[in-house]
Amino acid sequence: MFAGMPKLCWEDFKPGAVTEYGPRRVTREEIVAFAAEFDPQPMHLDEIAASTTLLGGLGASGWHMCCLLMRMISDGYLLDTSSMGAPGVEEVRWLAPLRPGEEIRIRTTVMETRASKSRPGMGLTKFLFEMLDSAGTSLMTMTTTQMLGRRYPEGPR
């Protein structure tokens, strides 16, 4: 490997590998600020209004949870990789509310990995991400496939 090359390439992610990132505390201020900008529903903005909704109190927008996860995996490993983005997200499940003041962690599991048929310099890696609260309860799961540059295009993995 030479200078300027990302530390981690597609070859470095092995199926079954589990890593955790965090913890990160999520404040009421950031929950409300995100909601005001991108998802201004009462359950994400105001404790009193939220108390009568199915969320049962103020909770973060599910899209905010996705964005927090994105930032945490970016800082955790993605910025050190040969990331080429992602073609999409297979599935996100919002399982429990993310409350103000909670400390979250992201557990990352490599599910499967395959070479790209169309682009020899690229591989595809499917991840399961779980957002956990401080008690270890799963608040959200996300399954997504990321595109990563290969260290050895057309070589063995």
Binding site: F38, G62, C67, M70, E90, W94
Partner: protein, 160 residues
């Protein structure tokens, strides 16, 4: 929002358009998705994207904002006509989200939502579940985003 019983498969909502400026793209990326091709013009030019483009999360949350604004406008109309409104949300999740093409600086995305499935909730007798397909199409008519989102919607009978 209308009640669950008022929502039919095939109902389509024109949510409106949004233009993604370079400043907005970089500001969002710095907060949530700080990959070089969403943050830095030169790095983006060298990447396989070829130019600065918005985080896919940015294009997705913009759909959500326009959906919330649309629902609020519909609620105001209903309330002005003396109708009551059902509670919408929260969503339980989404699937099959695809980012078909990058959204580049000053691209304008036209967003829609279409009801694709309605079913009673197994866990909540006062709620139904509504699945909508969210879509975004750029100014050239090319799809840039699609996903299937499922959310709770209040049943009319819950207030009977």
């Amino acid at each position: 929002m209308k009640y669950f019983e008022d929502i039919q498969v095939g109902d389509k909502y024109a949510l409106g358009r949004h233009t993604f400026t370079a400043v907005d793209i970089k500001t969002f990326a710095r907060r949530f998705d700080p990959q070089p091709f969403h943050m830095d013009d030169d790095a983006a030019a060298r990447s396989h994207f070829g130019a600065l483009c918005a985080s896919g999360w940015h294009t997705a949350v913009t759909w959500m904002r326009l959906m919330v604004d649309y629902r609020r406008r519909m609620d105001e109309v209903a309330l002005a006509q003396g109708e009551s409104i059902g509670e919408m949300g929260p969503a339980v999740g989404f699937r099959n989200l695809r980012w078909f093409k990058p959204v580049y600086v000053d691209d304008t995305v036209d967003y829609t939502a279409e009801v694709v499935e309605t079913r009673p909730s197994g866990s909540r007798t006062d709620r139904g579940l509504v699945m909508v397909r969210g879509d975004g199409i750029n100014q050239k008519g090319e799809p840039v985003l699609t996903f299937l989102s499922t959310a709770f919607v209040e049943r009319r009978t819950s207030k009977a």
